[in-house]
Each structure stands twice: as structure tokens, then as C-alpha cells.
């Protein structure tokens, strides 16, 4: 607001340098490596165009923008199949160090709904606090806490079930 072009560029330089790797990793976890470049590029384009709207704690805001870009991308029918295929490739525990525990985690993860996966990944992979993760989703922190609590509970149960391989999956609460 009222800033010179030089100041805009300096502010954006900092925003980009300090957060690009984080936003890129966020995107890669959700749409795979090939599309992550595009998501990060569009996220920072939005940030440049809306520089005045970027809050003093920019990371949750940037994640929120990146999340919207990812959602739009997943909605695009031409890309949906490819994106899902990429997400499947990037799912947890698919590294060379896979063991039984990670295998069980993956089976439990598969049974979770999108809402559960979203709150768990923001907490476990982006390592956000409840307050910041709530900002990403645009919900009050209390709502996020409840969602996280339920998601963890369901993940725990699915893990126990996959360990015993008997009980059917618990449907996700609304």
C-alpha cells in the first residue's frame, strides 16, 4: 500500500526466497513432483498480485493459496486422473525403507476421508500448529482441533484394524 516498485520487489523477494521450498514441498506432497512446479508458480503469482493482502505470518496464507490451486487443479477433469495417480505414488511409506509398520500406515491412510487426510498432513508433514493449520483451511482453531482429534482417533483405529486385519472401516463423521 503506497509502496514503491522497489519495495514491492524487495518484499516479494523475501517472501519468495524464504517460502518457495516450503510451498513447493507442500504442493509436491499433494500433486506430485511434476505438477508441484506449476502450483508453486501460481501460488507466488497470486502473492505478487495480492502483496498487500499477505499477512505478517505469510506461510499459512501461502499454503492456503497453494491448497486452492491444488483443488482447482484436481477439479480439472483432464488432469484429475493423472494427479490421483501421482498422489498414489507419493503416499506415505512408499520408500525403499518400507516395513510392516509403514505398510499398515498406508492401508490405514487409504481408509481415511479427504478431510482427515488434510488435517493430518498439515499437522504431520507441514508441522503446523493448530492455529496456523486452521488458517490454511480458513476455519477457527477450535474446529481444526476437533477435526484433528477425530482424524487421529480414526487413524489409530484403522491402524489397529489393519494390524488385526478383521474389523471393517469406520465411516468418516461429518
Amino acid at each position: 500500500m503506497g509502496q514503491s516498485a522497489t519495495e514491492d520487489r524487495e518484499l516479494f523477494s523475501w517472501l519468495f526466497e524464504a517460502h518457495y521450498a516450503l510451498v513447493h514441498a507442500f504442493a509436491e506432497r499433494r500433486v506430485g513432483r511434476d505438477l508441484a512446479d506449476e502450483v508453486a508458480a501460481e501460488t507466488f503469482l497470486v502473492a505478487w498480485r495480492r502483496l498487500e493482502a499477505v499477512p505478517t505470518e505469510p506461510l499459512p496464507w501461502l499454503y492456503g493459496v497453494a491448497r486452492n490451486v491444488v483443488l482447482r487443479q484436481l477439479r480439472a477433469s483432464a488432469r484429475q486422473a493423472k494427479a490421483r495417480e501421482l498422489i498414489a505414488r507419493e503416499r506415505p511409506g512408499r520408500g525403499a525403507e518400507d516395513d510392516g509398520e509403514h505398510d499398515g500406515l498406508w492401508r490405514a491412510w487409504e481408509q481415511l476421508g479427504d478431510t482427515d487426510r488434510e488435517v493430518l498432513s498439515l499437522t504431520a508433514w507441514e508441522e503446523l500448529t493448530v492455529r496456523d493449520a486452521a488458517r490454511v483451511l480458513g476455519v477457527p482453531a477450535s474446529v481444526f482441533s476437533v477435526r484433528l482429534h477425530r482424524a487421529r482417533r480414526r487413524l489409530e483405529r484403522h491402524l489397529q484394524q489393519t494390524a488385526s486385519s478383521s474389523t471393517p472401516a469406520i465411516p468418516e463423521a461429518t
Binding site: E10, S13, L22, E42, W48, L105
Partner: protein
């Protein structure tokens, strides 16, 4: 109902993508940056582009659609790839640095001062993502700069101890040069200031003035050395005064005798120290990319040099802040000059622009992002300077 954190711990452990801090330095990222900032961003321009968004695809219209729905993402990326192929400038050094102090982000000040390793700063300022602080000591003071690529601590030599009052229109100055982890130099001016001094503005060759922070009888300013400082304007209660800034190489000793009309501008580049050392320790480099497991650095005014190595396969450890007492806590200690090193009457005679060879561990992959922490220790009054140097093979 309590749940074990085991599920989250498992999930953390299974994180499919870890953050790669080098991503921002990739040619692709640099091209994205240049592509984005090439777009004018004043509101009228935005409105105009939005109107063009409904036009058929192609040319500028294809990019403009991004502002509305984001459906044109591939068009943007195509343009970025072209830019990358044609070669574009990298993200500038000291990205986000501001010529005037900026509001600090929550936690920025406390985090940076903790990393400085000194307590109770008398002055703290932010310039974008960079935080600088001044700490008073019995013999003078120390200055610290912390930021994305910088970790600098140095003593402010040649100024009177804080319990010696200075005249109300005086400034006492120490100047230092240092470099960030990529070898980009910056200059720092700090010192004591009289109570009548209202502002200090440093003029630079690129006509971007640097506004100093003033607080509690101290002031501080620093700037990327890509543009050098020419002079400064000091505003006091009695008026506005211009003072010349000597270059680092030709600066005068740090005594504050006499009383020039602008107050005492005792600018110095390492005036006499307590052990006959010429000034604060300085590290510059790397002078060359590593070859045969050797990193070349120029070190000045140091009694002792410590170099630590962070393995390239542990980016998280490499980015850990280094505490004041254990700068090599998470790293492999490479080399340390013993404290009994035979220092001659003046270390400058021992190390005139000395070149340090830091030997890396055998079998080190020099083609990763190698982070070497180098600490040069000066005399007690001049403290230490720490540089984190990222080396790409």
C-alpha cells in the same frame, strides 16, 4: 479420551516429501521469480488484465486468466520454461533486505537474538527477513546480523564503554564488512550516539539511502555491499550535518578526539584492539569452489578459526541455528587452530589476507549443497564472527 501420538509420529516418519532448501536456487525457481516480478502489479494494471481475461486464449490473455481462475496454469509454466532456457538472473543476494527498518514478524526478534547468543540487546531492528542487534558490553559493544543466509557476530571496537557518557551531538562508529553464506559482502555501521541525534541516513552510490536504527544511545545500519556508502546525513537537535564516510581500507583510527561540527564521526575499520589486533575478525570467501576436498577462505584478524561441516544429506541439520556456545553441535568439526598458535606481535603479520584451506572429510560429495560453518575468533574485545557458507560443486 486420550490417544497416543504414535499415529502422528508414524505419519511424520512417513513424510513423502522433505523440504529441499536448495529448491529456491534452482534455475526453474529463478525463472519463476523473474517471470512474476516482470508483471506490473499496480491495481489499475490488474483491473485491465482481468478484463482481458475473457478474451480467447493466446499471448498475454492466456497469462491473464490466472488472476481469475487459474485455469491458465500451463500457459504460465510454458512461459517460465522459455525463460529458464534463455537464462535468467538468480534470486538477488540479500533478497528482501530493506533500506529502512521494517516491522518485525512475530517471533523474528526473539529467534534472532537467541541465535546471536548474547542477552539483553540495547537495539534490535528488522530489515525484511533480516534481524540485527546491538549488545552493550563493559568494553564497548557487539553487533549481530541474522537472516536467511547470514549469521554474523562482531565486536564494535573503538567506541567508548557505555558507562562513559558521550556528547549529545556525537556519534562514535565502527564499521565492518562480512559476507553471507553465498559470499555476498555486506557492510555494517554501528556505534554509540549522543542523545541529541535524531536520525542517521547513509547515502550510497546507487542512490538508495539506508536509514539507521537508533535506540538507547546506540545506532546500527547495514547494507549489501553491491553499492558502497559515500557519506551520511546526521540530524541533531541543532541541525542537519553531512559527514564523509571513509572507505574500509583507508579509515582513520577510532579515537574520538576533538569535536568536528558534525559530532565525532570516529569511523574505523579495525582500529587498535586490546591485543594489538587490527580489528574484528573477518571471513570472506569461498575464494574458489572446492576441489580435491579443499575450501579456500580469506580470514583476517583471527586468533583462532573453527570450521564445521554439515553433511549434504542432512539438510535439516545444516539449517539448524548454531548456538552461541556450541556452534558445531550438529556438525562435524573439521579444523581448529589451537589457542596456543604462535601469534606474533600483530596477527596481521601472520595472516595478511591469509587464505585458509578447510579440508573436507575424505569421500565428501562436493556436488551437493555443502554447508560449512566457519567461526573466526578475535580478541575478547572483538569477539567472533560466524559465517555459514553453502558450497555448490
Amino acid at each position: 479420551m486420550k490417544h497416543s501420538p504414535r499415529s502422528l509420529a508414524l505419519l511424520r516418519d512417513a513424510n513423502p516429501v522433505s523440504v529441499d532448501p536448495r529448491a529456491v536456487h534452482s534455475p526453474r525457481a529463478a525463472a519463476v521469480f523473474e517471470q512474476i516480478v516482470a508483471e506490473p502489479r499496480h491495481p489499475q494494471g490488474r483491473l485491465r488484465r482481468r478484463r482481458t481475461a475473457s478474451r480467447p486464449a493466446g499471448g498475454r490473455g492466456a497469462r491473464a486468466r490466472l488472476a481469475v481462475g487459474g485455469a491458465g496454469i500451463s500457459a504460465l509454466v510454458a512461459a517460465i520454461i522459455v525463460a529458464a532456457i534463455s537464462g535468467s538472473a538468480a534470486v538477488p543476494a540479500f533478497a528482501g533486505w530493506s533500506a529502512r527498518p521494517t516491522p518485525a514478524l512475530p517471533g523474528q526478534i526473539t529467534d534472532a537474538t537467541r541465535r546471536c547468543g548474547l542477552t539483553a540487546p540495547v537495539l534490535v531492528e528488522a530489515r525484511g527477513p533480516y534481524t540485527a542487534a546491538v549488545f552493550a558490553s563493559r568494553s564497548g559493544g557487539s553487533a549481530c546480523v541474522e537472516g536467511p543466509s547470514v549469521s554474523f557476530v562482531g565486536s564494535i571496537g573503538g567506541v567508548q564503554a557505555p558507562d562513559n557518557p558521550i556528547k549529545t551531538d556525537q556519534i562514535q562508529t565502527a564499521v565492518a564488512t562480512a559476507s553471507d553464506s553465498k559470499g555476498h559482502a555486506f557492510m555494517l555501521l554501528a556505534g554509540r550516539v549522543g542523545s541529541a541525534v535524531r536520525s542517521i541516513v547513509i547515502h550510497r552510490s546507487n542512490h538508495i539511502d539506508v536509514v539507521a536504527s537508533i535506540k538507547n544511545g546506540w545506532y546500527l545500519a547495514w547494507w549489501p555491499a553491491r553499492a558502497h556508502a559515500t557519506d551520511a546525513t546526521v540530524t541533531t537537535r541543532s541541525g542537519v550535518h553531512d559527514i564523509a564516510l571513509p572507505s574500509l581500507a583507508t579509515s582513520s583510527p577510532g579515537s574520538c578526539g576533538g569535536r568536528p561540527r558534525t559530532g565525532c564521526a570516529a569511523l574505523q575499520a579495525g582500529s587498535s584492539g586490546s591485543a594489538g589486533l587490527p580489528g574484528p575478525p573477518l571471513i570472506s570467501g569461498p575464494l574458489a569452489k572446492p576441489f580435491d576436498g579443499t575450501l579456500l577462505l580469506a580470514v583476517h584478524n583471527a586468533l583462532r578459526v573453527l570450521a564445521c561441516f554439515h553433511p549434504p544429506n542432512n539438510a535439516t541439520a545444516a539449517r539448524q541455528p548454531n548456538g552461541p556456545t556450541g556452534p558445531c553441535t550438529h556438525a562435524t568439526r573439521l579444523t581448529q587452530l589451537p589457542s596456543s598458535y604462535p601469534v606474533q606481535k600483530n596477527l596481521l603479520e601472520v595472516f595478511p589476507n591469509s587464505v585458509w584451506k578447510v579440508k573436507l572429510p575424505t569421500g565428501t560429495d562436493n556436488h551437493g549443497a555443502l554447508v560449512v560453518l566457519v567461526v573466526a575468533f578475535g580478541t575478547p574485545s572483538f569477539g567472533q564472527i560466524r559465517n555459514e557458507i553453502t558450497v555448490n560443486g
